[in-house]
């Protein structure tokens, strides 16, 4: 009996541990196995009569349980540092490289991430130990794929696993280059980004290449056609062009979740620079996207770049001069561009939350259970933006509330007090039914807010209509004068002689 209860407690301990398991390494798992085998031994072996041996075994089991307990607590502490609703910035990032030399040649990018508090876990993309999740829990909040040539990931990772990762709201950065494998192309295609199918094609631009004494084939592009969005690229304007060398992609026009962040110039085209161009290029002009982002409906963010060199120290530091322009920049815009964009991807910017949704009649404070038609009401909501470390009031003048039943009856822009509070007041329409207060806030680069609160609206009660209508006074007059006449007549009739 005692053993039985012990085993049960051990079971709960171990399920705790397994549910939370993110860093429980193999030795802990061995412990678990030990405990289980020990206890099975304890309960099942009737020959184990020696009380001393039994005590030792029980003590060992206790010790192991304690180890697991400590491990699970430390695990809990580790987990609290990761991505959550209240603290949406990613923490743990898996970086997959196809060559560890990238760690050195792209060190500025990685160091800047580490300086911002991210824990980077570098692995070779064919490392058999790669695992995104263990026991149903994701080990990472973000994934960086700097492994364009990888045909197959090691471990259990494949296209479906990467997409599941994104589907669970995690973030992804994918960089390809001229040697991009089908694997990388497939991941991109699943997200609505189609890299040029010709494996030998790269983006060439004879109009806006980067002037360089040593790169003569115009595949090193100085791109400066950025998306106009402060939330994606930061409020500081990127002055210098961004150096790009790699392959182009097109975004599916039907997909409204993909955004072109960096587009090629109108004179660009995607072709093999070594061979003659005999058929029209499949990608040309400003429809070529060099860098795109996707924000999924679950607010997972994905970045696709056709160039891995875009993130490299060499490009970060090299001076840039765009062809045909006399402006020479000491440093390319790559570092600013990549840093700002990575802030967005890892939810350090553009992540909104809405709290304290309130509505009441004008002059009251309590939220009614039902509104009557023609009531005047006030609706308010507080919206905050995550700054990477704290929630800051969100300031915008375009947040709109809808009073909605099948279609919006009222759609009103809310005014803000610049401290995060948005409010609007309006009159309930003279239509009764079950309405909803809806805030559907979708802005370029921001996470989407979708608030809905159901509220019924009733018509006037019988005694709520107007009582003394002047137009009806003749009728009242007639009735009451008849009544008075009747009263007088009753006297006259009965008592007059």
């Amino acid at each position: 009996m005692r053993n039985d209860s012990k085993r049960r407690s051990n079971y709960t301990e171990s399920t705790n541990a397994t549910n939370l398991n993110a860093e429980l390494e193999r030795n802990e798992r061995n412990h678990l196995v030990n405990v289980q085998s020990l206890l099975t031994l304890l309960t099942s072996d009737p020959n184990l009569k020696n009380p001393k041996a039994r005590r030792i075994l029980v003590n060992m089991a206790k010790f192991t349980i304690a180890t697991i307990f400590v491990a699970s607590i430390s695990l809990l502490l580790a987990l609290t540092r990761s991505f959550s609703v209240e603290n949406p910035t990613d923490r743990r990032i898996l970086v997959l490289l196809d060559d560890l030399a990238l760690k050195s040649s792209h060190s500025i990018f990685f160091t800047s991430l580490q300086a911002r508090g991210f824990e980077l876990d570098f692995k070779l993309s064919d490392d058999p130990k790669i695992a995104l999740q263990r026991y149903g829990q994701y080990l990472y909040d973000g994934l960086v794929l700097f492994s364009p040539t990888t045909e197959r990931f090691g471990g259990s990772l494949d296209v479906a696993a990467v997409l599941d990762f994104v589907d669970s709201g995690k973030d992804l950065i994918v960089a390809a280059d001229a040697t991009a494998s089908d694997l990388i192309r497939n991941i991109a295609a699943e997200c609505g980004v189609d890299f040029d199918e010709d494996p030998s094609a790269v983006v060439i631009d004879h109009g806006s290449y980067a002037v360089s004494g040593t790169e003569g084939d115009h595949t090193l592009i100085a791109a400066d056609d950025f998306i106009q969005s402060d939330v994606l690229l930061g409020s500081t304007k990127i002055e210098a062009p961004v150096l790009f060398k790699g392959i182009g992609h097109s975004v599916n026009p039907a997909n409204s979740l993909v955004l072109k962040v960096l587009s090629a110039s109108p004179s660009a085209y995607s072709a093999n620079p070594k061979s003659k161009l005999s058929t029209p290029p499949s990608l040309f002009g400003s429809s070529i996207s060099l860098v795109s982002v996707v924000q999924a409906r679950n607010n997972a963010r994905v970045l696709f770049s056709g160039s891995l060199d875009l993130f490299s120290n060499k490009f970060f530091k090299s001076p840039v001069q765009k062809a045909g322009s006399s402006n020479k920049y000491e440093k390319s815009g790559n570092q600013q561009f990549v840093t700002e964009l990575s802030k967005w991807v890892f939810h350090e910017r553009g992540h909104l939350k809405a709290v304290n949704v309130r509505h009441h009649r004008v002059g009251e404070t309590d939220e009614p259970a039902i509104y009557r038609i023609n009531d005047d009401l006030e609706y308010s909501v507080e919206i905050y933006e995550w700054s990477g470390s704290s929630w800051e009031p969100y300031v915008a003048s375009d947040v709109q509330v809808q009073f909605y039943m099948m279609s919006p009856y009222v759609l009103k822009t809310m005014s803000t007090d610049k401290k995060g509070l948005f409010h609007a007041s309006f009159k309930v329409p003279d239509v009764y039914g079950v309405f909803q207060f809806k805030v559907e806030y979708q802005r370029l680069g921001y996470t989407s807010l979708s608030l809905a609160k159901q509220i019924p609206v009733r018509p006037f009660r019988h005694n709520e209509y107007e009582r003394f209508i002047p137009t009806a006074f003749p009728y009242y007059g007639a009735s009451f004068s008849t009544m008075a006449g009747f009263f007088i007549f009753s006297f006259v009739y009965l008592y007059s002689k």
Partner: protein
């Protein structure tokens, strides 16, 4: 950590992917790449990567790496860490608990900083290190203790560091060597490593220079063979750089081509300095130098140290010193009459011995034939640059591969320096391409309907119109500055419909004449039967064309037949993201208008009218002479009569109250009560009245 060269490190390392590309390049020539010697960017990177925290480095090993890198790069403005670091050097050397590894690193730092350490202290350390050599079991033990002794030998001439049993030590180290040229770290560890081989050679050369007596010559001979064997496992990149790879990755981390190659080069140069006549092919030495130069500027301190330290060993080695030929610019413009400039220097960027550079051959890309030139480049001692005033004859705009050769006049230098034979460098010669005879015409059959001259590159404003039975023809001619036909990589004509649908065509050429004819009859389906205005853009561009242009030519108004039912729909155009996310138009509810009512005056007037009959009734009653003579006179009937009429009045007042405020339920309830009361008193009153009148009649 695995490191491989990476100016284009990724490209290089990803051998598989790039093989196709490289094969194409290799068909022209086998090694086309430029390696630039160490430059200013390395110096700024060194200062950035080796930044001491609060005046000191985290470990003596790091301190040595930093100081050594600064020394090799000749950085004057280095951070001042001497006091702090010397303190920790003295601490480490005086501590009895520090092992040979700590002592080795401390002595290395001391070798650079020249801290004040007494000879007695050094003597004590020497005896400790000698004990360590005796007790050593692994290669690293030997490496650190022998290395330490060697450092003391360099730092102080008064301490006796010579090893008595050099032969025995050498043999016990030699026991770790493997048949494939690699070495093991210790006898208990069966895995062999290239890096270990490098460390072993360095250790062995240390033992040789520390030996008190002469070393067995046959032993040195077998060691030389070992080195040659190691070079069998050298690996090669397609750009001509050589490196050693270490498959074996152990716990100490930094294991990869960079550390392995660095260790081998150190071992090799150390070994070469102790013994004469080490025969390493000069292309291997040059290839190793290229490997380290090919990484560019590494992003972490360890890699930078490996790169800089190894290059300095290569520069000062006794086998052969690699010379690097580099071009400051490989894009030469004919318009600005750029000179072909070549720089020859050692790997660290110091100037080369007197030599001459020859331009041997010029390959034109796309064609195999090469013109043999054998032209001497003119040396400008002021800038230490070899230059060619005019490009060789026949070099028009285009992509070329120039083959250079370094010729050393002095036979002594010839032996000392590795030049690597021919160096092939890709060169782009750019210039302005002349565009002539540009015309756009609308054809009906073969008859020209209308023709317009175009000014290219320049502003044009075509306004053509055509129907589906006509054709549009665009033609122009391109010639190079030398009057040869020019074929640009990009010659594209783009038609863009108002709705945003774009069509692109390649303009074909015959010789210098470029022409494209759009037969709209065949294109109707491709154009999705979309009539209307099409904007025409012409793009002509090439890597060597300085005046590449994208010019809007104007527009053509197309009149195409109506789309049949089954025609394909034009593809959807991407929505403008800025518009898609904007705020929506506000919606305000329109309330039902209240019913129209007459003015109040009318209602009141009618109220007055309605009251008139009542007044007339009262007046009539007065006129008739109403009296109350019939009212009961006796007390009880009178009371009942009053109660009866009071009851009627109460009912009427109840009606008024009902109108004013009461609801139906209260009213009916009260009415019921009053009704019962009324029935009773009414009955009494009326029966009284009836009996009175009956009495009257009978009387």
């Amino acid at each position: 950590m695995k490191i491989s060269p990476a100016e284009d490190s990724q490209a290089m390392a990803r051998k598989v992917g790039i093989i196709a590309v490289l094969l194409a390049v290799a068909s022209i020539c086998e090694a086309v790449a430029i390696f630039h010697p160490i430059s200013e960017s390395h110096r700024s990177a060194a200062l950035e990567l080796f930044s001491p925290v609060a005046g000191s480095f985290s470990s003596l090993e790091e301190a040595y790496e930093a100081l050594r890198t600064f020394e090799v790069l000749g950085i004057e403005k280095k951070p001042d860490v001497k006091d702090h670091t010397c303190n920790s050097v003295v601490d480490t050397l005086s501590l009895m608990s520090s092992n040979s590894r700590d002592l080795y690193h401390a002595l290395r730092v001391n070798g650079l900083l020249k801290c004040e350490i007494s000879n007695e202290a050094l003597t004590g350390i020497v005896s400790r290190l000698k004990d360590a050599v005796k007790d050593a079991t692994s290669l690293l033990d030997y490496y650190h203790s022998i290395g330490g002794l060697l450092l003391i030998k360099d730092q102080s001439s008064e301490v006796d560091v010579l090893l008595e049993n050099a032969d025995g030590t050498l043999r016990s180290i030699k026991a770790l060597s493997q048949s494939d040229g690699r070495w093991r770290y210790s006898s208990s560890n069966p895995e062999s490593s290239t890096r270990a081989a490098g460390l072993a050679f360095e250790t062995i050369s240390g033992v040789i220079s520390l030996a008190a007596s002469a070393i067995d010559e046959t032993l040195i001979g077998t060691l030389k063979k070992d080195i040659m064997k190691l070079f069998d496992s050298i690996e090669k990149y397609d750009d001509g750089s050589y490196y050693f790879d270490d498959k074996h990755i152990d716990a100490s981390g930094h294991q990869g081509p960079l550390s392995a190659t660095s260790a081998v080069v150190r071992g090799l140069t150390a070994f070469a300095s102790t013994s004469e006549s080490l025969n390493i092919p000069e292309d291997k030495i040059l290839g190793l130098a290229r490997f380290f130069l090919g990484i560019g500027v590494p992003g972490n301190s360890k890699d930078l140290y490996y790169q800089i330290d190894t290059l300095s060993h290569l520069e000062n080695n006794r086998v052969s010193v690699p010379l690097v030929l580099s071009l400051p610019a490989t894009v030469l413009s004919l318009t600005s009459k750029d000179k072909l400039k070549v720089k020859v220097s050692t790997v660290l960027g110091s100037s080369a011995p007197p030599l001459s550079v020859k331009l041997m051959q010029v390959f034109s890309s796309g064609s195999k034939d090469a013109s043999v030139l054998n032209k001497d480049l003119h040396f400008d001692p002021k800038e230490a640059i070899y230059s060619l005033d005019d490009l060789p004859e026949g070099v028009d705009i285009g992509e070329y591969v120039f083959a250079f050769e370094i010729v050393l006049s002095d036979p002594e230098y010839k032996r000392k320096f590795a030049t690597g034979g021919r160096t092939k460098v890709p060169v782009h010669v750019t210039g302005v391409v002349k565009v002539d005879n540009a015309k756009a015409a609308v054809l009906e059959g073969d008859v020209v309907e209308s023709e317009k001259k175009l000014d290219l590159p320049g502003k044009n404003d075509l306004a053509l119109s055509a129907n589906h039975l006509q054709k549009l023809r665009l033609s122009f001619m391109l010639t190079t500055p030398f009057g040869k036909p020019f074929k640009p990589h990009q010659a594209l004509l783009k038609l863009r419909h108002e709705t945003g649908v774009e069509h692109i065509f390649v303009v074909e050429n015959s010789g210098r004449h470029f022409e494209i004819t759009l037969d709209f009859l065949g294109l109707v389906e491709k154009f999705f039967y979309l009539s209307g205005q099409y904007n025409i853009d012409l793009t002509v561009g090439d890597a060597v064309m300085e005046n590449s242009f994208l010019e809007p030519l104007g527009s053509v108004e197309l009149d195409l037949p109506k789309a049949p039912e089954k025609a394909t729909q034009p593809p959807p155009q991407a929505a403008n993201p800025y518009l898609r996310y904007g705020p929506k138009a506000e919606i305000a509810h329109i309330f039902r208008a209240p019913e129209k009512r007459p003015p109040q005056e009318v209602s009141f007037a009618f109220l007055g009218l309605v009251l008139v009959p009542f007044l007339a009734f009262l007046v009539g009653l007065l006129r008739l002479g109403v009296n109350f003579k019939n009212f009961p006179t006796s007390a009880i009937p009178a009371t009942f009569a009053i109660l009866f009429h009071g009851g009627i009045a109460a009912v009427l007042i109840l009606y008024v109250l009902f109108w004013l405020k009461l609801d139906l339920f209260t009213t009916l309830k009260t009415l019921g009560l009053i009704g019962i009361f009324l029935m009773f008193v009414g009955h009494r009153t009326l029966s009284h009245l009836a009996s009175t009148s009956a009495k009257l009649k009978s009387a």
